[in-house]
């Protein structure tokens, strides 16, 4: 069975950063056929952090997974662009001090070890796909071409990955990440078409706040949509998409950064289509803002995979548990 682990394109899918991680709408930093923004990671130690309960319910990846992402940058000369951890400890990374070198962490010697050979991709916008089986081997694709690989079993390598950090691999200018996806099947040709809210949906009477409080293009958690009683819900509209030729909608991903307080003990994520909705189970929100993700494989009305028409008429939202 094919499992999706996560897909994100904005701060809604990331933990709240301790420093300035913001979005941009500058063209050329993302593939405009699919996305209209990207996550900006400035120089320094900032990162966009992805961890938690993945879309399939797992929290750790110990078998083969594909990590697909678009990255825009002007150099590979500092730190690492993607950093993977397991239980807070180093696991694997894409070192970017000179081109890209995949490395694993040898926990016995507490040192990074080159895994496979380095390669130097062009700067600008690139699609990378890392096919990794922890403690077994990897393949790294750039622009659809295999650039590096190894089947050499790591020495004292990490047996799993449970956290991904998308960092700035350049010491003088920003990195931009978009269409970040992860699954256990070949997603080299897959894409993520993200959208932010562009209006209030048909569930629009509960709670406080407006769609503009959840779709900001900058880091801002000072305003929010709040549901103060169990069962309250809100939904939001978004722009329609045109699925590019050669692609099909596998499902709807909804990412929501939230927190709980008052008498509400948890939050849920919903999809509404026509007169029907599908609501997730409680997503185990905490008192601090954290991202939660949900994957809707079928539309609430037909119970079948989304057609483009049904996807475009669907709304997304939240519900207080």
């Amino acid at each position: 069975m094919a499992n999706q682990y996560f897909a994100l394109n904005s701060l809604a899918g990331c933990f709240r950063s301790s420093s300035a991680v913001v979005e941009t709408t500058t063209a050329g930093r993302f593939d405009s056929a699919y996305a209209s923004n990207a996550i900006l990671v400035p120089t320094g130690s900032d990162f966009a952090q992805v961890k938690g309960t993945f879309l399939d319910g797992s929290t750790s990846l110990s078998a083969l997974f594909y990590l697909r992402f678009d990255a825009n940058c002007s150099a590979f000369n500092s730190s690492a662009m993607v950093f993977m951890l397991n239980g807070g400890a180093n696991a694997y990374r894409l070192l970017t001090t000179s081109g890209i070198q995949v490395q694993y962490w040898n926990s016995g010697t507490s040192a990074w070890v080159n895994w496979g050979s380095a390669f130097s991709p062009p700067t600008g916008l690139n699609t990378f796909v890392l096919k990794l089986t922890p403690n077994v081997g990897f393949e790294l694709y750039q622009a659809g071409t295999l650039r590096a690989s190894s089947a050499v079993v790591p020495t004292n390598g990490a047996a799993a990955v449970d956290e991904f950090r998308f960092q700035c691999g350049n010491n003088s200018s920003n990195y931009y990440y978009s269409q970040i996806m992860c699954a256990d099947y070949d997603i080299r040709d897959s894409h993520y078409m993200p959208e932010l809210a562009n209006g209030e949906g048909t569930y629009n009477t509960d709670g406080t706040g407006a769609y503009t409080d959840i779709n900001e293009a900058v880091l801002n958690d000072s305003n929010a949509v709040s549901l103060t009683a169990s069962g309250q819900h809100r939904s939001f509209t978004k722009a329609s998409i045109t699925v590019p030729v050669g692609q099909q909608i596998t499902g709807m991903v909804v990412n929501a950064r939230g927190r709980i307080g008052g008498t509400v003990t948890d939050g849920k994520i919903l999809c509404k289509q026509g007169a029907n909705d599908t609501v997730s189970a409680g997503k185990s929100y905490n008192t601090g803002y954290e991202p939660r993700w949900h994957f809707f494989a079928t539309d609430p009305t037909s119970g079948s995979p989304f057609t483009q028409t049904n996807y475009n008429s669907a709304e997304f939202g939240i519900q207080a548990a």
């Binding site: 809604a12 997603i187 709670g207 409080d213 958690d221 990412n255 927190r259 939240i318």
Partner: protein, 268 residues
């Protein structure tokens, strides 16, 4: 991930002034708060005309030392404080932030104590929200080091001969709401001093709050085998040996026998 001390701005001091403008520390623009402590060697009331700065307290310690405490959201401009009378004075800003929550500029728990002898003391306060940060602020009328209370982290202890004063910031995490910070008694200048304890806390969520939400279509190339062109044709191989025409004929050779009388003559 917790609420933390995020740094200080450069200390401002003067040997004689009726106004002071401390520098603002670098902020991360994630909803943190700034504290300002201002002191002057008189008992004049401090005021601030800079927008968004709110006074939390001011205490006189003796007849010639006073200190005030102020708070603002991190986006506020660097403040300017004024009072009546040119005296030795100083001020400094500290910054607090929480990677997961905006912070509250309304302070629920604050305690302040004054004195003129060593040690410097303050009473315990009780937190009102989970995950708050207990902060102490000390300002003294002599430039003598201020010790660190047990169980606390001293974030800064600095002074200057210019105004002959000293100030310190320290902090530690509270536990759940209702936790106590503990009384403080630390070595400091045997001169007029003011010491506060206060709770820096997160904004409260009234229910389920979502600050960011996106949806997206997960697109895959169709996983079923697909074809862009299909044609069908009969593959023809030659079958069994076939003949379209068959004839049969007698192969006739001329007879060469001399005994054959059928030929008239043969010459060899």
């Amino acid at each position: 991930v917790a609420l933390v001390f995020g740094g200080v701005g450069t200390r401002a001091q003067s040997a004689g002034a009726a106004t002071i403008a401390p520098a603002k520390p670098a902020v991360d623009s994630i909803g943190g708060v700034l504290l300002a402590v201002v002191w002057s060697k008189n008992n004049a009331v401090h005021s601030c005309s800079t927008a968004d700065w709110a006074n939390l307290d001011q205490k006189n310690s003796g007849a010639s030392f006073t200190a005030s405490l102020w708070i603002a959201a991190e986006g506020a401009a660097a403040p300017t404080f004024t009072w009546t009378g040119s005296v030795a004075c100083g001020a400094q800003l500290s910054y607090y932030e929480d990677p997961q929550n905006p912070l509250d500029t309304s302070i629920a728990a604050i305690g302040g104590t004054t004195g003129s002898a060593n040690p410097h003391t303050s009473s315990s306060i009780t937190s009102t929200r989970d995950g708050s940060l207990a902060v102490y602020v000390d300002a003294a009328a002599a430039n003598t080091a201020i010790a660190t209370p047990a169980g606390w982290t001293e974030n800064l202890d600095n002074g200057s001969a210019t105004d002959a004063t000293r100030n310190a910031f320290g902090s530690k995490l509270f536990g759940a709401s209702g936790s106590t910070s503990g009384a403080i008694s630390i070595t400091g200048a045997a001169a007029a001093w003011v010491q506060w304890q206060l709770e820096i806390r997160r904004t409260a969520a009234p229910g389920f709050q979502v600050s960011k939400e996106e949806m997206g279509a997960w697109l895959d190339a169709p996983r079923a085998l697909s074809f862009s062109k299909v044609e069908v044709g009969a593959w023809l191989d030659a079958g069994a040996l076939q003949f379209s025409k068959i004839e049969v004929g007698a192969w006739l050779d001329a007879s060469g026998s001399v005994d054959n009388p059928g030929f008239c003559s043969i010459i060899w």
